[in-house]
Structure formats: structure tokens, C-alpha cells
Symmetry: C2
């Protein structure tokens, strides 16, 4: 029995024009079958019924690009291919999931997909932090979606909240613990009192650090994520090159102990802040470094391999997002969320919001960024030391918050915590302190973040 | 100078067909100018340039519906109207923000807007928890957006993460502190040791409790939010009537002290869980009640008027979202995010995801829901008491986790903490205990949530 034509209103007909034929499946190609890719494939196959209901049309896995086609991966071997370019180009592939990592061939493959009008979901922070502009332009030109929730903080929704939930607010600051390896190491150092080298070795044994841990421990991974977060928060194109970066390899057991003594812990932070220049105009500061964080700050209790991102916005106030920042399944959760949304857009028409760079805020040099320092010195134990040290801070227009003197031997210790000042003024003060006769050694310099001053 | 026609590619022409003329503004009507409405109006007026850049077209406030037009509200009085129906119906209104609260006329006005193809942003949890079905159907029929991030947990993005970020995952549990008034009261009782009545009065004086606090303290507000969260998490239409609800008005200072003694605190929780029936089929349990929460659980440290929502999903693991759950500015932040997204959809075409109810999971009765009980009794201090009490638990097939006996007088105290069992079996056990001669009084019964057992 067919419905009489008269029952089809013009509105219904118009609505029907937006949707593809109901039984037309949406084809998915997955590039890469490592930890994340395997989980994405598993979810696509195991939860096909749910995914179909959520998308409105069947989400069908067309193929998975792998390097070694001979390896048994527990799925139909006909789905595997080594010809990644041909897979992306297939007519029946509408959506491409890129979980290869690295710059090439990921960049070339994503561009090929977008230029063919296919939407792309990627977890590739290193690529995005360099080439978002080029990729976003391709997505825009061809009206495709480019989604990347999985690129920052694994399963934790932070890209979508920044792009969408906070689209009507003014974000002033994003502070995140966005690298699980370094957070695992710093948490373990805090718990055990062990030094950096031993803890890094232990992290490697436990699978929390890679054979070459440079990208994690030197802050490159966090810097890529900071660039992505800053781009979203401030509607400005920010790349890795704009991020001031310091890693955790010089953090000592003594630094951690000092942190404890000051009711703080040490965290590798990704910081994205709106700061003012001397004329009161907005600039942004994007930086990654290990920093003291007061134990009362919500990020202080984020330990082990967990991630968390704090967002401070004018109307929303302070928000925190917490969860598993890495691992196959959590990252796949973020990929799958993006994939369902991209598939819905394919099915119903429409597109998610693209790149927003209208604000074009200048990036402040690190030296101009207001920070607080925590300076640890060994000093001569004689009258006038404190006065001489304080004079160096004053010369550089740096205001001191607290001073602690310890010991009464030849090697007395002096700890100075400053108020906020330009980072260059703080650094110049430390350089000057090193030149003072009465300062035997500047034993550690750490920044202090997460305080209201 | 006009571009030669030949330079317009067919693809660009196709893209152009999707967008409205660039200079056509998108008209907004705001219904209600209380705490939230005032902030929405302020942001629309103060941040017009940013909002235009983010939407792609000017977002123009057409009018604000108020009850008292004579009151000075610091904006152009020509924007104010008491004729809310006429405002919604205006041809130059494309988007309607409903922050009136209450069922009518909010429901009628939202339906009028949706039926005219206008998108609606609302913060009205009570309305949504009853009428989401009707409203969502109207939105679907007329291809309009119905957004309601502000209805649950104020500024905290939780609606969009559940609908979109987790669209490809399988949510098993949502546990939230979603009512600021009750959390303020319970936190204050925990800190001061004061009793419920005094703390409620103090909360009223400080502006944290309304003159008639029933909706908050008896859990109606939290139950409405639980219904919304459960609907999103489980792709099932859930209304307030499906939610088992208990308030905090019977919580005593002694309950709080007992909680402390067991390294717990008391929180009013909104719980949405996937549970199995006897045949292993999925059902859902949606409930609001005060419960012991171990201090080690992330929700235990959410104090004062703050809100937090923990989501546990198969692939993502445990996520937590934290922030300000109420107040004019935080709620306006959520409204504005929705408004920008709805405006973008009007401008570019397309629609956000609508209601998803395909799973149609049955709601389990409270009696069938697995919970843990923490039972406090005054018992006769003689041999065999523990054995007699334990026998009652065993009769109902309830397994005991820990027992603590205190005191050696006529009024010895016995505290029993159970493993998970059907709530009806636990309740039956408590009823049976009350009948025992050796049990002088069952002084408190609280559930225990947030444990892995």
C-alpha cells in the first residue's frame, strides 16, 4: 500500500530532500590499526546496530589500512589493505578515520579525503598543531567535516565544549594536564621521592613511557595540544611554533620535596591565557612547562596517567574536565563520537562548526608573560643576605610574596616566592642572583601557577 | 569591480546555495529577564562583534519579554515587551531563548516557536523532564533545533558531551551532583556539624535556598535533571515520573557524623544506571537520593554550590565534568553556546542532533535496582545480637560487607554495611530488623554509592 501523494506536504518533501535514501550506508575507512584503530574497528563491528540507530543509516566499515597485511587481527582479512591511498579514494568511502600518527602520509591522505568531500576524524595532534590551517581550509572549501576531539586529552570532551558549548562565552584561560606520561612520572616522584631518571625507567617498564620518551618528557606532545587548545579558546590560529616549551627532565627529587614543603605539587602544565599588552590590548600566551601547583587547586589531585583540563571563562567561571587522556579505548571513544556526528552530517546534510580564527590575537613572547617564580638558593649565613637578595628583586621591579630562610650553617637556604611579574624580569633577577657573592647556588627555579595572585 | 562570472565554479555556487545573504541578521527573542535572561541580554549586547564573527552573521536582539515593562533594566526600553506571544511570532525572530521557567506558558511558547520553524534554546529542566517528547517531535517536524545545555548543571557542558562526544560509546552510568542548594546544605552540615533545619535556614539567609525550598530539598529539581541525563545517556525517553526520588530533609547531624566515621560524606545524587534484569536484558534505573559516598570518590570533594557529573562509558572509562551548576552568568554561558550553535545552523543550514530514543529501554522499578545499604541500629547489649541481626540479612539473601559494634551499655550500637542487593530485599531486611526485640531502634538507613562492589 502506498500513501496517497496528497498526504505529502511540501514541508515533508523539503525535509526529505535533506536526507539520503534510508538504506544507503555510510562507508568508513580506518587508516591505521594500532591501539586506537583496533578499538575503533571493534566498536564499529560490535556496536553496528546502535551506531546505525544513532546515525540514521548503517555505518559500514569499508576497509582498514595496515602496514602488515599478513598479521591476524581478528577481523575479516578482506577488510585489510596496504594500499591506503586507494582505500581513501574508494567511491563507497564517505568518512575517513586517520589514526596513523605522524605528519606524512597522514597529511597527504587527510587532504585527499577532504578534497574529495569526505569528512575526516583524526587523533593526530602533531599534525593538527602544524597544519590545521591547511586542513581546515580544505574542509571548508569542500564542505566536509574535520573533527579531532581525540587529539587532545583522549576520551575527555574538551575540543567540542570549547568549540560549541563555550561559543557564546569569552574564555580567559585554559590550564591542562594533557600528557599522561609526564603526569605519571611526576606523580610517582611525588609519591616515592625517587629521582627523575629512576622514575622514567620505571614508567618505561610499566608501559607508560615510550622507548624514546622525548616527545612526552620534553613537552612536545603537550605543546601540540596547547596549540590546539589555544586556537579553539581564542579563535586564533596557533601552531606549535607559537608555544613556549620546557620539559620535565630537569625536575629533581629536591624540587618535589620543596613543592611539598610549600603545600604544592609539580605538574607539567599546558597553559593558554589571554594577557594584556602594555596598551591594554588582548594578546595570548601559550606555554608548556613544569610548575608548582597548590594542593588546593583542582589540577593538583589529577595523578597518574589521568588528564584534566580547567577552562576559565567570563560567564561560565571555572570548569574542569577530567578523565583518561590516552589509551586505545578512551581515545577510540572520542573518535567514535566524532565519527557518529560526521556521519549524521553526511546523512542529514549540514556541517559541524569549522575553524574559527577571526580574532587573530597576537601571541605574546614568553618574556612578556606574567608568571610567578619560586627560587631556591643556597646562601651565605650572615647578616644582610636577605636584604641583598631582596634588592635584586626590587631592581627588576619584581614584588616578593613570601620568603623562607632555613638552616644556620655555612649553607643556609633561602626560598623566595614572587608575585606575578613579567617572565623576563623574573629570569633577569635569577641571573643577577647567580652573580651575587652571597648566593652560593641557585638550586632550583620553578614557576608557580594556579594561584589567584 | 565585479568578479567575472566564469570564476564562480559550480562547487562554489553549490556552497553559496547553503548560506543566507551575508548581511541578513539572525533575530533573537529572549523570554524572561531574571538572573539568566539579564545575563543573556548583556552578553548579546556587549559581545555583539565576537558573536557575529562566530556565527557568520549578526545576532540581533529583537526583544525581551518581561512582566513589568516599567522597571528600568539598563537596556533600550523599546526592546521590552509584555506581549510574549507577539514577540515569538515576529517575522524577524529566528531564535527564541526561553528562560521563564515553569510549565506554562513556556511550553506553549516553545511549541509556537518550533512550529514556526524557529530554533529554541531553553534552560527549563522541569518542562523538559515532562514534555521533551512533544517538544522534540515539534522540532523534528519543522527541522528546528531544540537546545538545552543550560537545563542540567548550569555552565557545565554535559548535555552536548552526552549527545555528541559519547555518541559512539556505550554509557553505563551517570552519577551527578546536580542541585547546588542541597549540596550547599549537605556540605555545610558536614563542615559545621549543624543539623538540617538550622543549615537550611542559613542557606536561605545566604541566598542559596529559596523561600519555598521544596523543589530543591525534596529532590524534584535533581529528578528532572536525572530524567534528562538518563534520556541522553540511554537513548530512551525518560520523564520525571520514571525517577525514584528521595530528598534530604530527613538527613540528620548523626547521619553526617556516621558518614565521617566510615570515611564517607553524604551527597544528594542523581543516578542513571544501566542494570540487567533477571534474564540479562538491559534496563535502566534512574533515581535521586541522599547517599554515602566514599571520600576517595571524585564526587566527595564537590562542595558548596558546585555541581559535577561523572559519566562511565565502556570505551571512555570514567569522565568527570565539574563547575558552577547555577547562577545567572554560568547558566547564561550555556544558553549562549547553544544560541551560537543554533544561529550557525540557521545561517549555514543543517541541524544539531535531535532526540534519540531508539533504544526504548524499560525503566527498572526501584525495588529491583541493586544498591548497598548502611544500617545503623541501637541494639540490646547481649550475646547473640549479631547472630540474630545477621540472620535477617541472610533470610533476604543480602550479603553483609562490614559490621561495626560500638558501646557496651544497654544501648549498644551496631552498624551494618551490605554488599549490593536488590533494593527491595534491603528494605525488607530493614523492616524485619525493626520487628526484632533485640533491636531497640533502627536509627538511620542510608544507601552507599560510588563503590566498585
Amino acid at each position: 500500500m502506498t500513501a496517497p501523494e496528497s498526504s505529502v506536504s511540501s514541508e515533508a518533501a523539503e525535509a526529505a530532500a535533506f536526507v539520503s535514501p534510508v538504506d544507503k550506508p555510510i562507508g568508513v575507512a580506518v587508516l591505521g590499526m594500532g591501539n586506537v584503530g583496533s578499538e575503533v574497528v571493534r566498536i564499529l563491528l560490535d556496536h553496528a546496530t546502535d551506531l546505525t540507530a544513532r546515525v540514521g543509516a548503517p555505518l559500514v566499515l569499508r576497509g582498514v589500512a595496515v602496514r602488515d597485511i599478513g598479521k591476524d587481527r581478528g577481523i575479516d582479512p578482506d577488510l585489510l589493505t596496504t594500499d591506503v591511498r586507494a582505500l581513501v579514494a574508494r567511491d563507497d568511502v564517505d568518512l575517513v578515520v586517520e589514526v596513523l600518527g605522524g605528519i606524512e602520509p597522514a597529511r597527504e591522505l587527510i587532504l585527499a579525503a577532504l578534497n574529495a568531500g569526505k569528512s575526516v576524524v583524526t587523533a593526530n595532534k602533531a599534525l593538527l598543531a602544524e597544519y590545521t590551517g591547511e586542513l581546515a581550509d580544505a574542509a571548508e572549501s569542500h564542505r566536509a567535516d574535520l573533527y579531532f576531539e581525540a587529539a587532545v586529552a583522549g576520551a575527555i570532551p574538551v575540543v567540542r565544549p570549547l568549540m560549541q558549548s563555550l561559543a557564546g562565552d569569552r574564555v580567559n584561560r585554559v590550564i591542562g594536564i594533557v600528557n599522561g606520561t609526564t603526569n605519571f612520572i611526576l606523580s610517582a616522584m611525588d609519591e616515592t621521592g625517587a629521582d627523575y631518571a629512576d622514575t622514567l625507567a620505571e614508567a618505561g617498564r610499566l608501559g607508560y613511557a615510550e622507548a624514546d620518551p622525548t616527545a612526552d618528557v620534553e613537552g612536545f606532545d603537550a605543546a601540540a595540544k596547547a596549540a590546539i587548545l589555544a586556537s579553539l579558546a581564542f579563535h586564533t590560529r596557533v601552531t606549535s611554533a607559537d608555544v613556549h616549551r620546557e620539559g620535565i627532565s630537569s625536575i629533581t627529587a629536591a624540587d618535589i620535596a620543596t613543592a611539598r614543603a610549600f603545600d604544592c605539587t609539580v605538574k607539567l602544565l599546558a597553559l593558554c591565557e589571554r594577557v594584556s599588552d602594555d596598551d591594554g590590548n588582548d594578546r595570548i600566551s601559550v606555554r608548556v612547562y613544569p610548575s608548582l601547583v597548590p594542593l588546593s587547586h583542582p589540577l593538583a589531585s589529577v595523578s597518574g596517567a589521568f588528564n584534566a583540563v580547567v577552562v576559565e571563562a567570563e560567564a561560565a567561571g571555572r570548569l574542569m574536565f577530567y578523565g583518561q587522556g590516552a589509551g586505545g579505548a578512551p581515545t577510540a571513544s572520542a573518535v567514535m563520537g566524532d565519527l557518529v556526528m560526521a556521519a549524521r552530517n553526511k546523512f542529514y546534510g549540514g556541517r559541524g562548526p569549522g575553524e574559527s580564527t577571526y580574532a587573530k590575537l597576537p601571541v605574546a613572547p614568553m618574556g612578556d608573560t606574567p608568571t610567578r617564580y619560586h627560587v631556591n638558593m643556597q646562601v651565605a649565613d650572615r647578616a644582610g643576605v636577605l636584604s641583598a637578595v631582596a634588592a635584586e628583586f626590587a631592581k627588576n621591579d619584581v614584588s616578593i610574596s613570601t620568603v623562607r630562610q632555613e638552616g644556620a650553617s655555612k649553607h643556609a637556604r633561602l626560598v623566595v616566592v614572587t608575585h606575578r611579574a613579567k617572565d623576563s624580569a623574573l629570569a633577569a633577577t635569577v641571573d643577577a642572583l647567580k652573580e651575587l657573592d652571597i648566593v652560593t647556588a641557585v638550586t632550583s627555579v620553578l614557576r608557580l601557577e594556579g594561584t589567584s595572585e
